[in-house]
């Protein structure tokens, strides 16, 4: 097991290097001037040039790349050009809102998606199956921003049950923080719930048609025991993979939701950094998101390997 983990960790290195180089080149090939955004519309050309020099933006590409990579290897992702603070601190300050949102959204996805998928599989071909899968397709197809804005209109503006937008840190109390997170978590969780429901249904159908399930039924076990004890346990392994991927995707992919609900998280940080051409911040954020993605995948693999010994051999 230990060598399995070490192998996987070592294989992260080329992945991260490729991500770092790719992001660097992509950003450098994209036109756009961070200095113009920082100094405002009336700044003189002379002043812009001076700031570009200060920030090292006039150095040759290769010099900038080697400097950045050298620092990154030592754990220094540089300073954000616009926010004037270290990239790692920018990311750290936004980790809490994004983590809370991701966990809640995953919870929403699991608590809606799993039971719906199981129920649909059990009732294959019946109206419950078709109805729930129809709703699931609706859930996947619904744009996040549309759902988010409508939830705000109903629950925040009209009913005034929940705040329109913003974020309260956990240190201000769990309920205070949750109040802000309920609508975004539903917005973000619904699409994933729909995806999860469809995946669960098809996994369950695969398993339910397996021979050991037929044997279980032939033994005269009750249907509930067959579904939840024999079938679901085996369907869970691929589902854990899916849930892990959903969690990782939500961590970096909550851009639209964070924007609509004005949550100071990593997604919003990234989109703003791109708009401002804040190159070190974009690089650092993408690198950290990539690292989290790889690590979550690793954890999912470890977890799967614990559940299924066959996987440890490969």
């Amino acid at each position: 097991m230990v060598s399995f983990i070490i192998r996987r960790l070592v294989s992260m290195i080329p992945v991260m290097l490729m991500v770092a180089t790719g992001v660097f080149l992509l950003l450098k090939l994209t036109p756009g001037d961070p200095v113009g955004v920082i100094l405002g519309p009336d700044a003189t050309e002379e002043r812009r040039q001076a700031l570009r020099d200060d920030l090292g933006l006039n150095d040759p590409l290769i010099v900038q790349y080697v400097r950045w990579l050298g620092d990154a290897v030592r754990g220094d992702l540089g300073d954000s050009l616009f926010l004037n603070q270290p990239v790692l601190i920018s990311l750290w300050e936004r980790a809490e809102p994004t983590l809370v949102l991701t966990m809640l959204a995953t919870l929403v996805a699991l608590s809606i998606g799993l039971p719906t998928g199981i129920l649909a599989a059990q009732n294959r071909g019946k109206w419950l199956d078709m109805g729930s899968m129809g709703v699931a397709i609706l859930g996947i197809s619904m744009p996040t921003f549309w759902l988010g804005l409508n939830l705000i209109l109903v629950f925040a503006v009209t009913l005034r049950w929940l705040p329109v937008a913003g974020y309260a840190p956990l240190s201000e109390g769990l309920w205070e923080s949750l109040r802000y997170m309920i609508l975004p978590a539903i917005t973000l969780g619904v699409a994933q719930a729909a995806l999860l429901a469809r995946m669960t249904r098809s996994m369950m159908l695969d398993v339910l048609s397996a021979e050991y399930v037929r044997v279980a039924r032939a033994k005269g076990l009750r249907e509930r025991r067959v579904v939840y004890f024999h079938a679901l346990r085996n369907a869970l392994i691929p589902l854990i993979n899916v849930a892990g991927l959903i969690f990782a995707a939500l961590l970096g992919g909550a851009v639209v939701t964070e924007q609509i609900f004005n949550i100071p998280g990593i997604g919003r940080l990234l989109i703003q950094a791109v708009g401002r051409r804040d190159v070190p911040l974009v690089q650092g954020t993408v690198l950290v998101i990539a690292a989290i993605y790889v690590l979550v995948n690793l954890m999912v693999d470890i977890f799967s390997a614990v559940l299924d010994p066959r996987l440890r051999e490969t």
Binding site: V37, G40, T44, E45, N84, A165, I260, N262, P264, G275
Partner: protein, 530 residues
């Protein structure tokens, strides 16, 4: 149908309110600065929440950046030697009074005594000299003044003397801008060309810096030892009383969130809302919409350094081929938020002039075609760089493109994000036209396009002479004549096409008392009632 639209159509009472709101919008919302809040009883205390358009660059260092949002925040904390009154005339702020020689070569400023910085230190002439030195070094307008200056010195604790090589009558007007802010000498000297660190944001203003959580809030609190002037408040000038305990500037990039938060009371004030939201705000009894006049004017700028539009005849051809008022409506939609006006300064200012602008909004396609021929236009592609990030920018460009094509021009809209546009417009080989906005309430000499290195690259001896004359002049009547000449020159040389004025929509909760409608918002003399 949206909830608000439904409500708008659901009852007679609402319809009446809607009609009144729409009809009264332009008039009621532009109450003069002096009478908007004067009658309100203001109670002390309260925590004001303000939704702003995004994180301000350089936090509150208005010397470092020219971004409007930073300047607006800075002026709650920092003060200058002068401040603008409601007619945009400079009035004393940190000075008791000043002398200037008739030739505009010497100025002597006597500082107010008893003014202290937020750190408790008294403000002295050494602080003023150090602050202005930083402004003269890194700020464009400061540099313009310093290039003409011979010396600046603190002659005693409370007197600053400035001597110029060339007459500089415009000085008080420049010193009234929020960027000419006074900080302790130690802060100005330590910062130099860098931005001031947040723990060093120390000024003399009615509010002081408390805390900055990036992307969450920037909190200012009342400066209890603030020493106010005694004169009646007038625009940004006169008495300043900080009633509020604190002000939170909350970055809310999405304008519908700013509007919704205003309606639910999460924010007391929301900056920059699109005109489409005016009806929604007017329907809510708890919200007052604010139509900010003057604000910005908009124009396509020609690239005069390279390519087609180095030719003046072709610039005139473009101006004559489209209706400037139609382009404003295409960009901004609602009539109560636009004004069709040829002047490059709002009519509310002393610099208003429409001299030489007969051609404004008077399209003549035949003459335009004749000018194309005269200019030797031969079907070359006109690259108009635009962005959808600001909808007006694309909409005005797209409308004008169609009119240009109608007279036989070949126009390509090159659409990108704002950061790309800002980079491209600085490159004379990258474009023929770009569009942007400029303040209606700035002295014409302070407009960035006077600088020949600024995008569009307006190089003109006549312009340089007139700008110099504007900066030098000390006599207001003579200045009016110069501004007339300058405006005439703008319409003659046509470096850009002034299309019209746009007013921005802001919103406030009705419990915000004492608010005065000025372009650069401020929150002293403002309280939270009820």
């Amino acid at each position: 149908m949206s909830y608000y639209l439904e409500r708008a159509l659901s009852s007679k009472a609402d319809r009446r309110q809607f009609a009144l709101g729409a009809a009264g919008a332009a008039g009621a919302l532009t109450l003069g600065a002096s009478n908007a809040g004067a009658q309100d009883e203001i109670s002390e205390g309260g925590e004001l929440q303000i939704a702003i358009i995004g994180e301000p660059p350089a936090v509150a260092d208005a010397v470092f950046t020219t971004a409007t949002i930073t300047n607006n925040i800075a002026q709650q904390m920092f003060e200058g030697l002068f401040a603008y009154d409601e007619s945009f005339n400079p009035q004393p702020m940190l000075i008791e009074d000043y002398d200037s020689s008739d030739d505009g070569l010497e100025f002597s400023f006597r500082l107010r005594s008893g003014v202290t910085f937020h750190n408790g230190d008294p403000m002295t002439s050494a602080d003023v000299v150090a602050s202005l030195n930083r402004w003269g070094e890194i700020n464009g307008r400061g540099r313009l003044i310093y290039d003409r200056m011979n010396s600046i010195e603190a002659t005693d604790e409370t007197t600053v003397r400035m001597v110029f090589d060339q007459p500089s009558g415009v000085l008080p007007s420049f010193l009234a801008r929020s960027e000419a802010m006074i900080t302790p000498a130690s802060v100005a000297e330590a910062a130099g060309a860098e931005q001031i660190p947040t723990d060093q944001l120390i000024g003399t203003g009615p509010f002081r810096f408390e805390e900055h959580a990036i992307d969450q809030y920037l909190r200012l609190v009342r400066f209890d030892d603030y020493v106010s002037r005694d004169e009646e408040p007038n625009g940004l000038a006169g008495r300043r009383t900080p009633y509020l305990d604190s002000i939170d500037f909350v970055p809310v990039p999405d304008e519908s969130v700013r509007a919704n938060g205003l309606i639910t009371g999460e924010y007391h004030f929301a900056d920059v809302l699109s005109a489409d939201l005016a009806e929604m705000l007017e329907l809510d009894p708890g919200v007052e919409s604010i139509n900010v006049q003057p604000y910005y004017w908009y124009s396509p700028h020609f690239n005069k350094a390279a390519g087609l539009f180095t030719n003046q005849a072709l610039r005139h051809a473009v101006q004559l081929c489209f209706s400037q008022s139609e382009s404003m409506l295409a960009g901004f939609g609602r009539e109560e938020f636009v004004r069709f006006d040829a002047s490059i300064c709002g009519e509310e200012t002393a610099w208003y002039s429409t001299a030489g602008s007969d051609a404004y909004d008077n399209p003549d396609l035949d003459q335009a075609r004749a000018l194309l021929e005269e200019g030797g236009y031969d079907g070359e592609t006109v690259r108009w760089i635009a962005t959808r990030e600001y909808p007006y920018n694309f909409l005005m460009a797209d409308y004008t493109r169609q009119q240009m094509e109608a007279i036989g021009m070949n126009v390509e809209l090159v659409v990108s994000d704002w950061a790309t546009l800002v980079q491209n417009r600085a490159d004379p080989d990258a474009y023929e036209i770009f569009l942007t906005g400029h303040s209606q309430y700035s002295h014409p000499a302070t407009q960035p396009f006077n600088d020949p290195t600024w995008p569009g690259f307006w190089e003109s001896e006549a312009k340089t002479d007139l700008v110099n004359a504007m900066i030098a002049e000390t006599d207001p009547d003579a200045l009016t004549t110069i501004i007339d000449d300058y405006t005439t020159l703008v319409w003659e040389e046509m470096p850009f096409v002034k299309c019209g004025d746009n007013f921005v929509l802001r919103g406030r909760r009705t419990e915000v008392a004492g608010y005065v409608n000025v372009p650069d918002f401020f929150f002293w003399n403002v309280g939270l009632n009820g």
